[in-house]
């Protein structure tokens, strides 16, 4: 039920977004792999945020650090989906 009602619809939606970005069929193997890579990145930063924080600077962790992480990651992740991003050099827009 978790898989069919929550996880699969989200994977499918992200897969269609990746397919639209890459201009390919959602069933394409490369699209499926790209979707999993996208989900994997997000899940990594959920599950391993303690590792990320420790690696950066846990004693002085501020909003600017999160903006830095987002501004650094978003262009590469977007580019992997064939989507240019204007986030390079951005100061962050977290609210």
């Amino acid at each position: 039920m978790t898989l069919s009602d929550r996880i699969s619809p989200m994977h499918d939606a992200l897969g269609k977004a990746a397919a639209a970005g890459l201009r390919r069929d959602p069933q394409d193997q490369a699209v499926r792999l790209g979707t999993q890579a996208l989900i994997g990145q997000i899940m990594f930063f959920f599950a391993c945020r303690s590792v990320v924080c420790a690696w950066l600077d846990p004693d002085n962790y501020t909003r600017e650090h999160i903006d830095f992480i987002a501004d650094t990651l978003i262009p590469t992740t977007s580019a992997s989906l064939g989507l240019p991003s204007g986030a390079v050099g951005a100061k962050g827009t977290l609210v």
Binding site: M1, T2, D5, R6, P9, M10, A13, L14, K16, A17, A19, A20, G21, I42, F45, F46, R49, S50, C53, A54, P58, D59, N60, Y61, T62, R63, I66, I69, A70, L73, I74, T77, S78, L81, L83, P84, S85, G86, A87, T93, L94
Partner: protein, 149 residues
């Protein structure tokens, strides 16, 4: 059902009323209401998710949820039923989070051939929001807690 300041327990299956005795720690009374039920599911969710039904005794789960063991057994009907109820509760709980994301993704994907910029913007916002959500749950640093109280 409340009576004379005590929380009266209504067992769903047996319709047997239970009430905490005077010797019971006041922190360990069965809390009635949806908010308290949510608290119980939140409390037992992590141990059940990490170790499954067989990894914990009901006593430990009752302690984690700060409820009377007997009340937890009476209400839940056993650890397996509690496990399934907890899973269903989390499925319902994440529904309001996932549903709008899926709907918005579908909308921008539908327009992607004529409005690619909208897809770019949505993916960027989705990633930024996901990162912010992930780090806002962090309890690593007081500084971070001040950022995301």
């Amino acid at each position: 059902m409340a009576s004379e300041g005590l929380i009266v327990l209504q067992c769903p299956d047996t319709a047997v009323e239970m009430r905490p005795t005077a010797t019971v720690n006041r922190d360990f009374v069965w809390p009635s209401g949806e908010v308290s039920q949510s608290r119980i599911f939140l409390s037992v969710g992590k141990p059940l998710a990490s170790s499954g039904c067989s990894g914990f005794a009901m006593r430990e789960l009752a302690h984690a949820a700060k409820v009377i063991l007997g009340a937890l057994i009476c209400h839940s009907g056993g650890i397996r039923k509690l496990y399934y109820e907890t899973i269903f509760w989390f499925i319902d709980d994440i529904g309001p989070v996932f549903t709008p994301i899926i709907r918005q993704l579908s909308e921008v994907v539908g327009r992607a051939t004529i409005d690619r910029e909208a897809l770019e913007d949505y993916v960027e916002n989705f990633l930024r929001g996901s990162l912010a959500d992930g780090f806002s749950a962090s309890r690593l640093s007081p500084a971070l807690a001040r950022v995301f109280p």
